[in-house]
């Protein structure tokens, strides 16, 4: 396992099986620290399953995942997760939500919560409950929740879906800044164009396997099944 320390994230022969269907069919890959990886592919390719496995939310049927040398659950303080559902309580305000989630990470006080809310371009004083936010605002607040504890690894699943252009660009800008600050970022998305020039690498998945890794969002004829 010594090799795991040279890479931030190491995925070894990971299989995730649901009855007769395998969402992941033996994924093996290694990812450097401090890089921005976009994960692309059709529906059913296994992108979300892979991300959830990295987050420790799904246990692989076979294989191992190592994050900074630890199992995903042990590395939970170092990782932040965001998905297409907001992972927020609709009936509370943004600040109330973050105050609660801050407690899960042992963060006391409002200062940090206000700081991240401002970082995603929202107002900490907003008294509106999250359920009344627009999709763009909700995704941004969800991102704020994910970065609350200043994780070194960010796992984002379709953060830009159904989000207005302005919010999407704000988020991309924020992520770019975080990558420059040395964070490792994984984004699953269908909107590869948004990350062109921002992501260091594009990881292509198909039918439960990684089929290609390119530097650009336009996939050339570099192998891979169509």
């Amino acid at each position: 396992m010594i090799n795991d320390r040279t890479f931030a994230i190491s995925v070894r022969n990971v299989v995730k099986q649901f009855g007769r269907f395998a969402a992941l069919r033996g994924v093996t890959a290694e990812f450097d620290a401090g890089r921005f990886h976009a994960i692309l592919g059709d529906n059913g390719a296994g992108k979300t399953t892979l991300l959830r496995a990295l987050a420790g939310l799904a246990q692989p049927t076979q294989g191992t995942i190592s994050i900074f040398g630890k199992a995903p659950r042990e590395a939970c303080r170092d990782l932040g997760y965001m998905a297409h559902p907001s992972l927020l309580y609709d009936e509370m305000t943004g600040m109330e939500n973050l105050r609660y989630f801050a407690r899960l990470y042992g963060i006391a006080g409002d200062a940090r919560c206000a700081e991240v809310i401002r970082a995603v371009g929202l107002d900490p004083q907003l008294m509106r409950s999250v359920g009344q936010y627009s999709q763009g605002m909700r995704q941004r607040m969800s991102l704020a929740r994910a970065i609350l504890h200043d994780p070194t690894l960010l796992l984002l699943d379709e953060p830009f879906s159904n989000v207005d252009v302005h919010s999407a660009h704000e988020m991309v800008g924020l992520l770019k800044g975080m990558r420059e600050a040395g964070k490792t970022i994984f984004v699953v998305t269908h909107q590869a164009a948004l990350l062109e020039g921002v992501a260091d690498e594009f990881v292509w998945m198909q039918e439960g396997l990684i089929v290609d890794r390119t530097a650009s969002a336009t996939r050339g004829v570099s192998g891979g099944v169509q």
Binding site: V15, K16, Q17, F18, G19, R20, F21, A22, A23, R25, G26, N43, G44, A45, G46, K47, T48, T49, R52, L57, A58, Q59, T61, E207, V225
Partner: protein, 240 residues
């Protein structure tokens, strides 16, 4: 493996036939209850077999929780299914015996009631297995098995105490056993135990084969395949 199973099946069949003969012909007719008492040679061995199988399920479940071994889960489901069948036999033969002898179909006596609760717990176990998302079924089922095991002694004691306060006819053999009856009983006990083990073993192998097929199906290469692998169960939201 297959030969051992065949030999074992033959031995079991012989024991069952011999046991049947002993139960219906070899053992003498009971004085007070008459021929209906012969059901005892099926009622008690079935209960014994059911309890052994449920205990197997418990042990297999604990092993699964600790070591996550797939075989342990396969054994757990096999033992549970076969156990429920034998438990059903107990619950059916009980009233059939009770009605002619004591005049009532059902008595909330300790053993029968505990058996009923055990049956309910394991039926709910099987329902849970069927209704849960495949990836999590083994863990959830194993946890339920442990809860069931913790419950059974409490059930036993609560009914036992209730019965001391509100006595009712106890279903049992009554008195000592004639040696020929004891012989018939022991033979049937052995025969049923072997039969239970044999069916459980077969079910276990079947379960393992099924899992192997599922895994092969899931992992098959799709390059050049005519049809993509279809999911046979509703996909959870994490299947993308």
């Amino acid at each position: 493996m297959k030969r051992a199973f065949s030999i074992f099946s033959v031995i079991t069949a012989v024991l069952l036939v011999y046991g049947l003969y002993q139960a219906l012909v070899g053992a003498p007719t009971e004085r007070t209850m008459g021929d209906v008492q012969r059901i005892f040679y099926y009622h008690v061995p079935s209960a014994w077999t059911a309890f052994c199988l449920f205990l197997t399920n418990l042990v297999a479940s604990i092993i699964y929780l600790i070591r996550k071994s797939a075989w342990a889960d396969a054994l757990a489901v096999a033992a549970a299914e076969v156990g429920v069948v034998f438990c059903t036999i107990v619950l059916i033969t009980g009233p059939i015996w009770a009605r002619p002898v004591w005049g009532i179909w059902w008595t909330w006596d300790v053993r029968l009631t505990t058996t009923l609760v055990l049956w309910l717990i394991y039926v709910s176990y099987l329902v849970l297995r069927r209704f849960s998302d495949t990836a999590q079924t083994p863990i959830l089922a194993a946890v339920l098995a442990i809860f069931g095991a913790l419950d059974v002694p409490l059930v036993y004691f609560s009914i036992w105490f209730f019965r001391t306060q509100h006595p009712q006819p106890v279903m049992g053999r009554g008195g000592s056993l004639d040696p020929r009856m004891l012989h018939a009983f022991l033979i049937n006990l052995l025969a049923f135990s072997c039969f239970g083990a044999m069916v459980c073993w077969a079910r276990f192998r079947l379960e393992q084969l099924k899992r192997d097929v599922d895994q092969a199906h899931a992992m098959e290469s799709l390059a050049g395949a005519s049809e993509p692998a279809k999911a046979s169960l509703p996909l959870s939201r994490s299947s993308r």
